[in-house]
């Protein structure tokens, strides 16, 4: 057991890059007295190493296939009839998001360089633990382990918002925590229920993704379970009625927090739909799709409108996230390949562009300690490079062709249209117009026009560090926008197989009673990861 664990940690495995950050966080305990600079450098170093680990891993698995790598499974907990496996794997669906997480971490550290003024050790530690949580949730192949990571994310985020946040930070932090918790607790019940059902059928509980994937519930149960899962994910995304935690969290959170929040945490909601809610309960998902799509559309339009009404830069960007993720949800519930590809890509895109926007807002905040529009205007005159970056990121977020945002939206919309959601597509497309409306408003209020405040005349332009923070994002935005093909490849097999199973199960229809459906699994290429010995899995990762 223990030496297995060591093997996982030291070998070239997923577990390594999942847990490396939290292990690397321990030395921080002894850096308590060290100067902030040392801590920053250490954190940056760790972040870069982490990124290197992930990059290497990704590079060696970009090829694709339904399952690109998995780790040896350990028993996390085995008590009575309940056993939970620690089992992680990466496939085309999680790979891009993993990479995104790895990319954002160093940028976040860099971006917080000046913004975070106190307790750097704590901040760095929280960030690193948060990273472990996010990566873990992305790679977990056992639902309870997934849930654990899912919850683990909350604590560091709560701390980050609560300690380093703005004036109403505590309110925002608690709100964030409670919203997410409220959703996920029901999901926990759902998970337990599924595991128990599996136990009823086979004699032993199982939380393994593949095992539970075999379960076929009758429609009524599906609806309940789907609701339980969907609530958790919808709050995370966030979808329309559950979104109010997001603006508060974003506005109060420090730059780094916002970037991670927008960049990765929200994606876990959509990822959850794609990974769990839809494959587990295809019929329910299909039956409730109109509602979900409806909410997604409300999100698109509503988010855009509210963003338009904002007077605070960061809040505007926050609401824009709601609109953008509305697109993703639309794509997910169009149930076809193009839309799913687009949705997955759009998750990454949003991470990049919104991340960049938050970083920029943060940089402005570092200089002026305000985010209100009325304090800005005409900045392009004094800090042209900042203006350039802001325009770039904004346009990417607007969905200008040849930048990343467009690709995702285009694929989502065209896929949704093909999926028969014509009206929805039309409405969503109109959301694109609104995106231009509110984002250009931001440019108008901040960088264009005459300089209204004298403080703005003597601003320093972006430092080398800040440029270094933004450049990778900008390059990626352009690259994905111009040649997205490369980025779509790895996810394709996984998506298609999930889709195939979905279609097969739809055609089969819901069973009368709960069944283990091996039949369908054999009929269609299962979305399950390549069966076979863990050794083979980790072997493929070398």
């Amino acid at each position: 057991m223990m030496n297995e664990l060591l093997d996982l940690l030291l070998g070239d495995t997923i577990t390594r890059f999942v847990f490396f950050p939290s292990f690397a966080a321990f030395p921080l305990l002894f850096l308590g007295r060290a100067s902030a600079r040392t801590v920053k450098l250490y954190a940056l170093f760790v972040a870069l190493v982490e990124f290197a680990l992930i990059a290497l891993f990704t590079a060696s698995h970009w090829g694709g296939g339904t399952m690109v790598a998995r780790d040896a499974t350990l028993t996390w907990l085995d008590f009575g009839s309940l056993r939970v496996l620690y089992e992680v794997g990466v496939d085309g669906i999680s790979l891009p998001l993993v990479l995104l997480t790895g990319l954002l971490l160093p940028l976040v550290i860099l971006g917080s360089w000046r913004g975070i003024t106190k307790h750097w050790t704590g901040f760095a530690a929280s960030m690193l633990f948060l990273t472990t949580g996010m990566l873990g949730a992305l790679v977990a192949l056992d639902l309870l382990v997934f849930y654990v990571f899912w919850e683990v994310m909350l604590i560091p985020m709560y701390v980050i918002i609560g300690i380093w946040g703005g004036d109403r930070r505590v309110y925002a932090a608690v709100k964030f925590f409670l919203f997410t918790m409220a959703g996920s607790l029901l999901m926990l019940l759902g998970i337990l229920w599924m595991a128990w059902t599996y136990g009823k059928l086979t004699g032993v509980w199982s939380f393994r993704y593949e095992d539970l994937l075999q379960l076929q519930f009758p429609l009524d149960q599906q609806l309940w379970l789907f609701a339980a899962f969907a609530l958790a994910f919808a709050i995370k995304v966030p979808m329309f009625p559950f979104h109010t935690w997001l603006p508060d969290a974003h506005v109060e959170a420090p730059t780094g927090g916002s970037v991670i929040l927008a960049g990765v945490l929200l994606k876990l909601g959509t990822y959850g739909f794609l990974r769990f809610a839809i494959p587990f309960f295809p019929q329910a998902a299909t039956q409730l799709a109109p509602w979900v799509v409806g909410l997604a559309l409300v999100g698109v339009i509503y988010g855009a409108l509210v963003a338009w009404a904002q007077t605070d830069m960061k809040k505007l960007v926050a609401y824009s996230s709601i609109a953008h993720l509305g697109f993703v949800m639309l794509g997910l519930f169009a149930f076809n390949e193009i839309a799913w590809q687009g949705a997955l890509l759009q998750m990454v895109n949003h991470g990049l562009s919104t991340g960049a926007l938050f970083l920029l807002v943060g940089m402005l905040y570092d200089r002026r300690h305000t985010k209100k529009f009325e304090d800005f205007g005409g900045l392009a005159k004094t800090i042209p490079w900042f203006a350039l970056m802001l325009v770039f990121a904004t346009l990417a977020s607007v969905g200008l062709p040849a930048l990343n945002g467009f690709v995702g939206e285009f694929m989502i919309l065209i896929g949704a249209w093909q999926g028969g959601l014509r009206w929805a597509t039309g409405i969503a497309t109109f959301g694109v117009v609104l995106a231009a409306v509110y984002l250009l408003k931001m440019l108008q209020e901040t960088i264009w026009g005459p300089i209204r405040k004298d403080e703005n005349r003597s601003l320093k332009d972006l430092s080398l560090r800040e440029v270094a923070t933004l450049l990778p994002l900008c390059i990626l935005m352009l690259w994905i926008g111009v040649a997205p093909g490369r980025f779509l490849e790895p996810s394709r097999p996984a998506l298609t197989s999930v889709l195939a199973t979905y279609r097969a199960q739809m055609s089969a229809g819901p069973p009368e009673a709960v069944t283990l459906s091996r039949a369908i699994m054999t009929a269609a290429p299962a979305p399950t990861f390549v069966a076979g010995s863990p050794a083979a899995g980790s072997g493929s990762s070398r």
């Binding site: 907990l77 609560g162 932090a173 925590f177 595991a195």
Partner: protein, 482 residues
């Protein structure tokens, strides 16, 4: 021949842990009497005794002893270890407090050890008389300990309240025991279950008898509606003692409660025990969390949260059976760690005994006492049942048991209750970390042993939560002998 010699060697051997504890206690009392200079060492001595006891406990012979009055099984062994753990926590946290309050006398460790003796016997007792006497033994010790800060009127007030309630309840227990004995003609668990199986006695009286017993031990657990004493006593009594009081007696009482419920529920008799336990559990979870939400005094808050946790603990008993033991056991282990740890920290951070332990006093101390604050945060998160802490593992097992036995409603209530719970647990954290100081700790120094206890508790909580595998596997192996 004199029947006293009819006792085999084995009987006394099986009693060894209790004897060790009692012996050490008596020795401490003697030392107190004759060499008071050693007072600072008494707690250490007691701790050594506890360790010795737990080591001995580890290789206890299994079976029934003393003419079937007490048993010793893997389960009782495990629960007994919990008691000893709690005792250790109580001792470690006491050192600093007693020194500060100039109460460093031998009586504290002595009473504590005697109390745990009683607890061990309570856990092992399988006969009503033994159980009753053991209950009284530990209760009397607890009354004394509650009033231990004898210059502090709130301490005595707490003790009085605890005593009056306790005495009343023990008379109820006695009456219940009388009914049970009367209806079944036996005082041993085995005899009773046999009689129940045979269907002797009037079901009404049997039910009433068991009800009185269950309520009696429910009182010790602090289940709603028998809970009202807890907040007052916790608030008034010396904090290190509360670290013990909030944990150990509950573990023991839970065992007896479980014994009784499992016993009676398995028999064909009146009363719907699932319903009864569910009602108690739901009431405790909701009331505990709701009232705790309104508390600004951390000790009262923790008292109510303890009430709520006893509600969670009860969930597996809603469908009584051998399978109920495991989740309860794990839950108690984690509860001991997290709640004990929390009270240890309270006893360290609130230098001034008395009525008020406002949570707000902790504002911004996180960066003054980083270690203590971190431990407190961990304990709070664990109490809130947030992974990766022991609290989550425990809740997970409990809910899983509930779902397994179709008590979905219980699980749902539990979940919503714990959602409420998160609020006030987080409140402590944000006071510590996210507020600016409003009261300076002055010359407050955290004593080493207390910090040791806190750190051990916190680390245990996290380890048990993050890597429950090894521990649970070991436990499983131990229980396999059942």
């Amino acid at each position: 021949m004199n029947p006293i010699f009819a006792l085999a060697q084995a009987d006394w051997l099986s009693l060894l842990p209790e004897l060790v504890l009692t012996g050490v206690a008596s020795v401490i009392l003697l030392l107190e009497a004759f060499t008071p200079r050693l007072r600072p060492a008494f707690n250490g001595l007691a701790l050594a005794g506890v360790v010795a006891a737990s080591v001995i406990l580890a290789q206890q012979p299994m079976g029934l002893f003393f003419h079937g009055l007490i048993e010793s099984t893997a389960l009782t062994g495990a629960f007994s270890q919990i008691i000893l753990l709690a005792t250790a926590i109580g001792l470690l946290s006491a050192q600093g407090y007693l020194k500060r309050e100039r109460l460093l006398f031998g009586e504290y460790p002595a009473l504590l050890l005697w109390c745990s003796t009683g607890l061990l016997l309570l856990i092992r007792g399988v006969e009503l008389v033994t159980i009753f006497v053991a209950l009284e033994l530990l209760s009397v010790a607890l009354y004394g300990l509650a009033a231990f800060h004898r210059r502090e009127s709130v301490s005595s007030e707490a003790a009085i309240k605890y005593f009056l309630m306790g005495a009343l309840v023990s008379s109820f227990v006695l009456y219940g025991a009388a009914l049970v004995y009367g209806e079944t003609g036996s005082t041993t668990i085995t005899g009773i279950s046999a009689a129940l199986a045979a269907g002797t006695g009037s079901p009404g009286l049997i039910f009433l008898g068991f009800l009185l017993l269950v309520c009696g031990f429910g009182f010790k657990l602090g289940l709603v509606p028998f809970h009202a004493w807890a907040p007052d006593v916790y608030q008034g009594a010396p904090s290190p003692f509360v670290a013990f009081l909030s944990v150990a007696p509950k573990a023991a009482s839970a065992v007896v409660l479980a014994r009784l419920v499992i016993l009676v529920a398995s028999a064909p008799t009146a009363g719907d025990w699932t319903k009864l336990v569910s009602v108690l559990a739901i009431a405790s979870m909701l009331v505990g969390n709701l009232f705790a939400l309104a508390q600004r005094d951390i000790k009262r808050m923790l008292a109510y949260s303890g009430i709520a946790h006893m509600g969670y603990l009860l969930i597996p008993l809603a469908s009584p059976g051998e399978s109920s033991w495991r989740p309860m056991l794990v839950y108690l282990v984690s509860y001991t760690l997290m709640n004990g740890g929390a009270f240890v920290l309270v006893s360290m951070l609130y230098a001034k005994p008395g009525e008020q332990h406002a949570i707000a006093n902790l504002s911004g101390w996180a960066f003054r006492f980083p270690v203590a604050a971190a431990c407190m945060a961990v304990c709070m998160l664990s109490l809130g049942g947030i992974p990766p802490t022991a609290g989550f593992v425990a809740k997970y097992l409990v809910f899983a048991h509930a779902i397994q036995n179709g008590n979905l409603a219980l699980a749902l209530v539990g979940i919503f209750a714990s959602l409420i719970g998160v609020v006030f647990y987080l409140r402590v954290i944000y006071m510590l970390y996210m507020r600016d100081e409003i009261s300076s700790p002055g010359g407050l120094k955290l004593d080493l042993s207390g910090q040791l206890a806190a750190v051990l508790a916190a680390v245990g909580t996290v380890v048990l939560g993050a890597f429950p595998g090894p521990f649970l596997a070991w436990l499983e192996a131990a229980l396999a002998t059942l």
